[in-house]
C-alpha cells in the first residue's frame, strides 16, 4: 500500500561513492530521498545497503579505512562538508541497528541516554519524553511498571522496540533502520512495522531490509541495490509488479537471493 509521495527531498545524494580499504563498496549513487515517507532498500547481502545507510549519519567515519566521495545533502547542506559537525548530525538522524542493542542500563536510562547528553535534566521533561517515545514504539504498556529495571531482561522484540523508542526520544528528523526485524518473532515484527507506518507521517524513514515482503508491506518507495550500485528506484508497487530492470525482476521474484 502506498501513499502519494511528497516530493520534498529530505536527502539529496549526489555522485556518492564509498571505499573500504581502497575497494569501492558503493559506486556513483545519485538520487533523492523524500521526507515523510518510507524508503525501503532491498538487495542481496553484500550489496552495500548497510554501508549506504551508515553514510547518512556518518557512522562510517568510525571505521578506520573507510572514506566517502561525493555529496550527501540534508536539507540542502552537505553533511560531509568539513564544517558540518557529525555529532550534531547524529542527533538529527537516528539509527536502529540489526541486533537489538540495549545499553546495560535501565529501560528509563536507555531512552533518556541521548537526552542527557544534550543537557536535558528536568525530570518532568524526561518522564514525558520516555512515555511518548515508548508509546510511539508500542512498548509503553508492556514496561510502564518497570521502567527502572534492567533493559537486558526484555525479550528480543521488546529490546528492539526499546531501541526505536530510544531513537525517537531524540526527536530526530530522520530514522534509519538496518534490518531491524531480522531474528524477531512475527508479532514483534508486526508491531514495529505498524509503528513505522504511523511514524512516517512525521519523519523521513529509510529502511534496509533483507525481507522483500516487508518492503512490499511497508515502504512507499523502494530501491534495489546490487553489488554497490543502485539498479532501480521507484514506487513500491511498480518495483514489485513492473520493474524496469531484469535484475530487479529476478530478485523480487526470488530467482536469486
Amino acid at each position: 500500500m502506498t501513499t502519494p509521495i511528497n516530493t520534498t527531498a529530505k536527502f539529496q545524494i549526489l555522485n556518492l561513492a564509498v571505499y573500504h580499504h581502497q575497494v569501492p563498496s558503493l559506486r556513483n549513487l545519485t538520487f533523492n530521498i523524500p521526507d515523510r515517507a518510507i524508503l525501503g532498500i532491498i538487495g542481496p547481502s553484500g550489496s552495500g545497503k548497510t554501508t549506504f545507510l551508515r553514510t547518512l549519519n556518518r557512522m562510517n567515519d568510525l571505521l578506520p579505512d573507510c572514506h566517502a566521495e561525493g555529496q550527501v545533502l540534508l536539507d540542502n547542506r552537505d553533511i560531509y562538508h568539513p564544517d558540518f559537525d557529525p555529532v550534531k548530525l547524529r542527533k538529527r538522524v537516528g539509527m536502529v541497528f540489526a541486533l537489538p542493542l540495549p545499553l546495560p542500563m535501565s529501560i528509563f536510562e536507555n531512552v533518556v541516554y541521548g537526552l542527557r547528553l544534550s543537557g536535558i535534566r528536568n525530570r518532568g521533561q524526561l518522564d514525558e519524553t520516555v512515555e511518548s517515545s515508548l508509546k510511539s514504539a508500542f512498548l509503553w504498556d508492556e514496561v510502564k511498571d518497570r521502567l527502572h529495571t534492567s533493559a537486558l531482561r526484555l525479550s528480543g522484540g521488546q529490546q528492539q522496540r526499546l531501541c526505536l523508542a530510544r531513537t525517537l526520544a531524540m526527536n530526530p528528523e530522520v530514522i534509519l533502520l538496518d534490518e531491524p526485524c531480522s531474528g524477531l518473532d512475527p508479532i514483534s515484527t508486526a508491531k514495529i512495522e505498524e509503528a513505522l507506518t504511523i511514524l512516517k507521517q512525521r519523519y523521513c524513514i529509510v529502511l534496509v531490509t533483507n525481507n522483500t515482503k516487508q518492503a512490499a508491506r511497508v515502504a512507499d518507495l523502494t530501491s534495489f541495490f546490487l553489488m554497490g550500485d543502485m539498479i532501480e528506484m521507484g514506487p513500491t508497487d511498480h518495483i514489485f509488479t513492473v520493474p524496469k530492470d531484469q535484475r530487479t525482476s529476478d530478485y523480487v521474484t526470488g530467482r536469486f537471493g
Binding site: N57, M59, L62, P64, V87, K88, L89, R90, K91, G94, M95, F97, L99, L101, L103, P104, Y113, G114, L117, S118, C163, R166, T167, M170
Partner: protein, 279 residues
C-alpha cells in the same frame, strides 16, 4: 629392562604431585607460622598505639597510617595516568609504532626491580627535587612502580567492553569522550578496580623502594613532606636490628593479613567481572 609406560606414568604423576604438594606446603607453612607466632601479639593496643623505645614496646599505629597513606598517594597520581593511557591506547588511536612504543615502555617499567626504584626515587625526588625523605617522595616513586599494572589491567577491562555499546552511543549523538565517560568506563570499572587492588597489594609489601624515599621515621605523618615508616619497613628494621622478635612477628602478621585480604578481594572481583561478562 624396559619399564612399562603405565608404571612410568604412575611414578611421574606421583613425583609431580609431590612437587606440587611441597610447593603448597612451604607457602602455607610460611603463612601459618607467621600468623601462629604473630597473631597473639596483635591486639587493639598493638594496632592503635604508638611504638615506644624504637619499637621494642608499644604498637604500630604510625606505620599503619603510613601503609595506608602511601599507596593512596601513589594511586592518586598513577590511576589517572594509567587509565588515561589505557583510554588513549584503546579509544583514540589504532595500533601503530607509537602505541607499540608506549606499551614497550610500560613493559620495561614493569621489569625494573624495586631497589632501582629506590635509587631513582632517592636521587631524583629526595635529593634533586629537595623533597627529603617524605610521603611525597615515596608516593611518587610508588606511583611509577604501579603504573604498568594499572595500564595493563585498565586496557584489558576497556577492551572487554563490547563495541556495540560504543556504536549505539555514537549513533545517539555522543562524542567520543562522552561515550568513554558514560558507557565504556562504567562497564570497565570492575576490571579497573581489580588493577587498583593488585597495585595496593604491591605497595603494602614493598620495602626497598620505600625505605630510600619515604624514610623510616616513627612519627605520625602530619603533612606530605613528613617521613613515614610503613609496616614492611618497620618489620624489616625490627627483624634486622633484632629489636623485638615478638613485635616483628606481630607486624608480619598484620602485613600478611593486609596483603592477602587485598589480593583476595582483587581476585574475587575479577571472577565476578568475568562471570558477569560471560552472562
Amino acid at each position: 629392562m624396559r619399564i612399562p609406560p603405565k608404571i612410568t606414568q604412575a611414578i611421574a604423576v606421583t613425583l609431580l604431585g609431590a612437587c606440587t604438594a611441597l610447593t603448597l606446603a612451604v607457602l602455607v607453612y610460611i603463612i601459618v607460622s607467621v600468623l601462629d607466632q604473630g597473631l597473639p601479639v596483635v591486639n587493639w593496643d598493638f594496632l592503635f598505639t604508638k611504638p615506644r623505645d624504637m619499637g621494642r614496646a608499644g604498637g604500630i599505629l604510625p606505620t599503619l597510617v603510613g601503609t595506608v597513606l602511601l599507596p593512596l598517594l601513589a594511586l592518586l597520581i598513577a590511576l589517572p595516568l594509567g587509565v588515561g593511557t589505557a583510554i588513549y591506547l584503546t579509544e583514540y588511536t589504532r595500533e601503530s609504532k607509537a602505541t607499540r612504543f608506549i606499551r614497550f615502555g610500560a613493559d620495561c617499567l614493569a621489569g625494573v626491580p624495586s631497589i632501582i626504584f629506590g635509587l631513582f626515587g632517592f636521587i631524583f625526588f629526595v635529593v634533586m627535587l629537595g623533597m627529603g625523605w617524605s610521603l611525597l617522595a615515596g608516593g611518587l616513586t610508588l606511583a611509577i612502580m604501579i603504573l604498568p599494572t594499572l595500564i595493563r589491567t585498565s586496557e584489558e577491562a576497556i577492551r572487554a567492553v563490547p563495541n556495540a555499546y560504543r556504536e549505539v552511543s555514537f549513533s545517539l549523538g555522543a562524542t567520543r569522550w562522552e561515550t568513554v565517560l558514560k558507557v565504556v568506563l562504567p562497564n570497565a570499572l570492575p576490571g579497573i578496580v581489580t588493577g587498583i587492588m593488585l597495585s595496593i597489594g604491591r605497595c603494602i609489601g614493598e620495602t626497598a623502594a620505600v625505605i630510600f624515599t619515604a624514610g623510616s621515621s616513627l612519627h605520625m605523618p602530619l603533612s606530605a613532606m613528613d617521613s613515614v615508616r610503613t609496616m614492611s619497613v618497620h618489620f624489616y628494621i625490627l627483624a634486622r636490628e633484632g629489636i623485638s622478635q615478638e613485635n616483628a612477628y606481630g607486624t608480619a602478621a598484620v602485613l600478611i593479613i593486609s596483603v592477602l585480604t587485598v589480593n583476595l578481594t582483587a581476585y574475587w572481583m575479577m571472577n565476578r567481572f568475568i562471570a558477569q561478562r560471560n552472562k
